[in-house]
Symmetry: C2
Subunit: 178 residues, 2 copies
């Protein structure tokens, strides 16, 4: 599979797929997700059929170890499903294709890994007692309280998005905001 050179309008489906996989890899990278993880996800997002580890390895030219670990991680995020075929030992994987579900999975995973621990630390830091006459203390305390507030608001918003009904989601997200 080619490099997916961007900015050249794709002529064939294979080119377009390669460009999409490349795009997803680059985007992932700039949001702290490893290139391979994003690319395996992209590959499966545009595959109508389930793919085996073997398929993934060869289509993305990555090692067996990398493919295996990456697939397991995506399963952990809830972005992939195993497809077991009777009489075959080999495992196949399909991506969750519903972008609302995909969004929910990503929000859930990142909230759990990053936002929640961060909030715990902030809570602890914000309680530090101190001298209200000390400018240093006041600056620290005010900033921490403000950040805490923002973190709490984000948390609640994300939780709501995560649990929302599809209809609620589109109602609010579209009618209200756009």
């Amino acid at each position: 599979m080619s490099t997916g050179n961007p900015d050249v309008p794709p002529q064939t489906l294979a080119e377009a797929k390669a460009q999409f996989i490349h795009l997803w890899g680059v985007s992932g990278t700039s949001w702290g997700v490893s290139k391979t993880l994003a690319q395996v996800h992209a590959l499966l997002l545009v595959s109508p059929a389930a793919l085996s580890t073997e398929d993934i390895m060869s289509q993305l030219t990555i090692s067996r170890g990398n493919a295996s670990m990456t697939v397991r991680e995506l399963l952990g995020w809830g972005l992939l499903y195993k497809e077991l075929r009777p009489g075959e030992r080999r495992e196949y994987f399909v991506a969750e294709k519903d972008m609302l579900q995909v969004t929910r999975c990503i929000i859930r995973a990142r909230k759990r890994r990053e936002l929640d621990p961060m909030k715990r630390t902030l809570d602890q830091l914000a309680t530090l007692p101190g001298d209200a006459a000390d400018a240093d203390y006041r600056a620290f305390h005010t900033t921490l309280t403000d950040i805490q507030q923002l973190a709490t608001a984000s948390d609640k918003l994300l939780t709501k998005l995560m649990l929302a009904e599809r209809s609620w989601f589109w109602d609010k997200f579209f009618k209200l905001f756009l």
Copy 2:
């Protein structure tokens, strides 16, 4: 300044500051922002007074070059202001402390750098013509259209947040969602 070891409840303001700076650095890293950038930002967020490059270097134990480049980048994001003191050549920097503004700056910068280019590529890929009877093409086209739709919705939401009045922001963000 110490390492900011987390999970140990801070006893002094200096410890708490160090922990906050550490936290911000770690969080930045997992969202694709360099540790130093996040830490310089954190340092200035909790400093009541403006700091010079010299101050930043010594408080975070980083090199002059690193401090200079980082400060410039934060200025570019709109997260820092220069403070010039009459009769002094040295430049001082203050952080934007209003977390709503901070949020807007971050949204603006990341939208411009990541979301916008991505949307352009998606638009191009989604227009690829093809055979509706081909499962491969259908999978590609459907996924791309869905992602495009999500990207457009996010774009609009972020734009609205970015430009919103403070009152609108809190009204919607709190009353409606939480």
